[in-house]
Symmetry: C2
DNA sequence: CTGTGACTTTTAGTCCGTG
DNA sequence: ACACGGACTAAAAGTCACA
């Protein structure tokens, strides 16, 4: 069986979507942090799956990335 | 302008989806809490939008509701 | 520009009880 | 079976110095 039969880890989903969208917008962690009102190192922690982020902060990230919250928990098509 | 032009509040989305899915499965707050390993009052707080839930707990809720995490942040079609 | 551990302040989440 | 409050404990938020 493949890994996909199990629910993807939510931290990993958030981390990869955050990083991907951030890079697509051309922002550094530092700049994104400033836009969202976070400290630079906190964004780093989220991308490295260290932080157990709260729903309010997830929403703030979604806002600066200009995507709905659900988009941060959607796995990218591998193709 | 309507409220829908802005990103839906993530707490509200989670709250309504949680309650709807819980009732569909025929669980009380108390029983769902037990299944997910939470305290009974905590599930109540989530459904009333009082709690600022963490991503790990969101994932646990999704697991017992047998839906992907993204489903908890998807608005129901008004139909 | 980013990773990381240590750190203080704030809050998440529990437990007890009431209506 | 659920809402709600107060007090409490575990953990997240938020920051810093350094690699």
């Amino acid at each position: 069986m493949t890994k996909s039969s199990k629910t993807e880890d939510a931290r990993a989903l958030l981390a990869s979507n955050l990083q991907r969208l951030r890079l697509e917008l051309g922002h550094s962690q530092e700049h994104l942090a400033e836009l969202a009102g976070f400290h630079r190192t906190y964004v780093s922690q989220v991308e490295r799956r260290v932080a157990n982020v709260t729903i309010d902060n997830i929403q703030r990230l979604a806002a600066v990335l200009e995507v709905p919250v659900a988009a941060l928990f959607t796995a990218e098509k591998s193709g």
